[in-house]
Symmetry: C2
Subunit: 542 residues, 2 copies
């Protein structure tokens, strides 16, 4: 039954899923709704769409077509958003580059990705220009506002909002590559995760539904769009018809100002940004504006370190409500989500923190999450909140694979599941909790120490801003935990004091005996680069 040939897919009832459709639909259905705000300028959806059409035309003229890689190094500005639609519409592949990388790293990615063209924000000229020259990749410079016409600049900010529909006929298959995202390099040489149209479409829909994006959403771009395409929110906010509020640099005063001025409802950022906001003198004025009704509450998505009760309490005074997201470059950003929801609305901050410290549950389009039992038997770790195993993912929002790296791809997908390299447990209520990166586990005297657990204790110490615990080689124990600590400005804490603080809350073998103080090395997205800390210890030992 139902095998009749006339029930087959055909042009009328089967079209490739692509997030490009979100922009063409928005321009059609609500052309006059505000799409992007940047500095003092505003573009409605017709205007953003026309910008994407102009960009696609310029790229086509530059010879870009199906399967070509177009790189972009830019801050969160309108053209960066437009590129997320213009480049895929041509069937080309967008490679967003981290603006804080040096020329060497940028050059590596330009060369590895076989990039055909580099779109460049004038603010990012230095290292990017050097990398482009070194690799022979053609560079096309974006024009800054008010620059006026210049032959060597691509001015997409002016030109009005009238345009023919963005032609996406080059998108013939939903499995076609849409973006190339290089991993952030916490573990060595960056790998290029290939995203496809289907996954980008679905992750955007799932994020929009789970985070509650809608027409009234005002989304502040504290998160760089170059980071996993802004966790797919470049597409998700557009699908929902919300407003993108751009931000030149992550500065507290600017963030608080934009929240009040544009009625920001949502933002996402690394925890380090939240600490920065709390520590800034402008926070006090924001609290006053909040009390006076001149600023509203903001739903904040964050990922990485688990938020402490103290952090949640403090963020509450700023009107921030936390959602904890977990994902990787390979999963298009968020794969799981943890929200307190109505059930915990009146709970204590301790209870909320305990809840939000977990990575939670898959979102509406992100597939299945497993905690693999160790030992290779193939089963799941029991949902007891204690038995640790590797977190495995399966679904429609995982990369196609690593570009030009078949071996790493096969390793990542071994056994039919994506291996996150993170260790976790499943609680009795089914929520997952990341216990550590597999490679960050410290093995001391045969006992496993989860660096995250020790860091969690250190983060509760009032003088500690950030802490990272890594393995220090030890002739006697194999490894010993060593804590790298960044103190809050103007605060002090001696190693003895921190050790005693840990001893009160941890088994003895987990307590760090060695401490190093100073600023921690971070990636552009606020992740601590533990491999550099391990390198320091190795250098010390030599």
């Amino acid at each position: 039954m139902f095998e009749e040939p006339h029930l087959r897919p055909r042009a009328a009832n089967f079209q490739p899923l692509t997030p490009v459709s979100f922009l063409t639909r928005a321009a059609e259905a609500h052309p006059h709704r505000t799409a992007v705000i940047w500095r003092d300028a505003t573009w409605d959806y017709a205007g953003l769409h026309a910008m994407a059409v102009r960009m696609a035309e310029a790229l086509r003229e530059a010879g870009i077509g199906r399967g070509d890689v177009v790189s972009i190094v830019a801050r969160n500005r309108p053209e960066m958003l437009a590129a997320h639609f213009a480049v895929p519409a041509l069937g080309a592949v967008l490679s967003t580059l981290n603006i804080r990388l040096d020329a060497g790293a940028l050059g590596y990615i330009l060369a590895h990705s076989e990039s055909r063209l580099l779109l460049c924000d004038p603010a990012c000229t230095g290292a990017a220009g050097e990398a482009a020259r070194a690799t022979g990749v053609r560079m096309l410079m974006l024009a800054d506002p008010g620059e006026g016409p210049a032959p060597d600049r691509l001015d997409l900010l002016t030109g009005g909002s009238a345009a023919p529909p963005l032609d996406a006929s080059a998108v013939t298959e939903e499995w076609q590559p849409i973006c190339l995202n290089y991993t952030s390099g916490t573990t060595g040489a960056p790998k290029g995760a290939v995203y496809h149209h289907r996954g980008a479409f679905l992750n955007a829909m799932g994020n929009a539904l789970t985070l509650g994006f809608g027409a009234a959403t005002s989304y502040l771009w504290t998160l760089p769009m170059f980071h996993c395409n802004g966790w797919s929110h470049t597409w998700a906010v557009t699908a929902a018809g919300g407003t993108h509020v751009c931000l030149d640099a992550v500065e507290p005063a600017a963030i608080f100002d934009l929240i009040a001025r544009h009625g920001v409802s949502h933002m996402c950022c690394a925890p380090v940004v939240l600490y920065m906001l709390l520590a800034d003198p402008a926070a006090e004025a924001h609290r006053a504006r909040l009390a006076a009704g001149e600023a509203g509450r903001v739903a904040v998505g964050t990922g990485g370190a688990a938020p402490s009760a103290h952090l949640i309490e403090q963020l509450g005074t700023l009107g921030f409500e936390l959602t904890h997201l977990y994902g990787l470059t390979e999963s298009y950003g968020p794969a799981s989500i943890c929200q307190t929801g109505e059930a915990l609305a009146d709970a204590s901050n301790e209870r909320k923190a305990a809840w939000l410290a977990r990575q939670g549950y898959r979102h509406a389009t992100s597939g299945t999450i497993r905690i693999a039992a160790s030992g290779g038997a193939g089963g799941d770790a029991p949902p007891d909140g204690e038995t640790q195993g590797e977190i495995l993912l399966r679904g429609n929002t995982l990369m196609a694979g690593y570009y030009r790296d078949a071996a790493a791809t096969e390793r990542a997908f071994a056994g039919g599941w994506f291996h996150t390299g993170d260790l976790g447990v499943r609680d009795t209520d089914g929520a997952i909790r990341v216990t550590d990166r597999e490679k960050d586990v410290i093995i001391s005297g045969g006992e496993n120490i989860a660096s995250i657990e020790v860091e969690g204790v250190l983060h509760r110490h009032p003088a500690v801003l950030l802490a990272a615990v890594v393995a220090m080689p030890s002739a006697k124990w194999g490894e010993l935990p060593c804590a790298f600590v960044e103190l809050k400005p103007g605060r002090e804490a001696a190693p003895d004091e921190l050790e005693a603080f840990c001893r009160d809350q941890l088994a003895a073998f987990k307590v760090p005996r060695h401490y190093r103080f100073g600023e921690l090395p971070k990636t552009a997205t606020g992740k601590i680069q533990k491999f550099l800390l391990r390198q320091r210890l190795t250098d010390e030992g030599e």
Copy 2:
């Protein structure tokens, strides 16, 4: 580039899209959130999931497997909702039957669909039992609440909320059929539109995003779930994690009561239900509750006749905010949507009515809408708000085809587009407006008369509840418009008065000279059956 074999789809990164995943995820991520309310009972998502698991087990025991058609004739009750997940999880195909059909029509569908089993609501036993006996289809009767155990009843309402995850491994392809929806028979013998998992998943996501369904949604089931699977809202509300509020029968007092009692935020219904609510004495008490804050505002989705300014104004007093939806059985329900949005928040009711009288724009997942230029040249009618053409659809939320009807399928999909059979225009702002069903156009003296336009005028007359205008054969003119009018209770209007009323607002050739009064024949979903009216005129003439 990107043609490397290791970038292929595989089990880890490609899974068939299926709305079954919405329920398994809900049971995993928020098992204790309220899923369904019926009468005085409540099921949380764990409970609804367990009900679906029990139903799937019972069906498997009854021999149901991949590709088998399972029919259900039931009001909007929890098992009806559970069937939308349990049957597809088995790889079987759900055929929901209109509870108001007679035994002959039910028998036709049971036989045509080659149904293997009929699940039956005890309230629907009569005609359904007769049809099952006549066709030899096995009938499985659902148990009513509190009936206690009985050997010939399937009790799914009790049994607790613990269950292993609903096994959907029989869903191996997203193009697999999920439902069979027979057209409502306004045009003759019903045809069975085959829905697939992919389309159901996508239409649910698009509806949820466009209508703003979320965790706080309380959705009142005024719309029958048997009608296009409740426009996909069976799946959409579940995807969003909202609450389904069931309703035994569409009675104004019960509707107003549930709105207040369960904080209803959304409902959908045919316009005829809205007229009924407004005309009911209970409306007054609802207005008082609304004023006292004991009932909230409700977003109401409706389709069919265009709402008049008067209707919008009156609905406003009940706290109802209208969204105009347009679609067909073949498009999984809504394909386009018209909302007033923020831009019109402060507009006059006349302005809102003019806006909402249109069918608007495609929603986030529904593809492309075209108005074909007449004459077969293949182009589009110009967007001038005047030039009429057939409305064509293309996208991912269109049926696979008609079951066991290759000829009708090929006709429907001729030229690579789905032919709606509706005539429409595109306004200068891109919105579409249905001007008439192709076969409802009246051709009088060589001039086309859109029956919808004439009906729109009659609906503005204060004594008219419903009006339908059809062609009456005329020796002189070919056809003449004849108006069938259902008056409001206690109101009167003479033909002369209605004719004069029309003459003020219509070209002379469009004004009906013939009037018939009385209740209009409607389908179970409130659509007026014009073919029966035309039949009456033919009978009169003989």
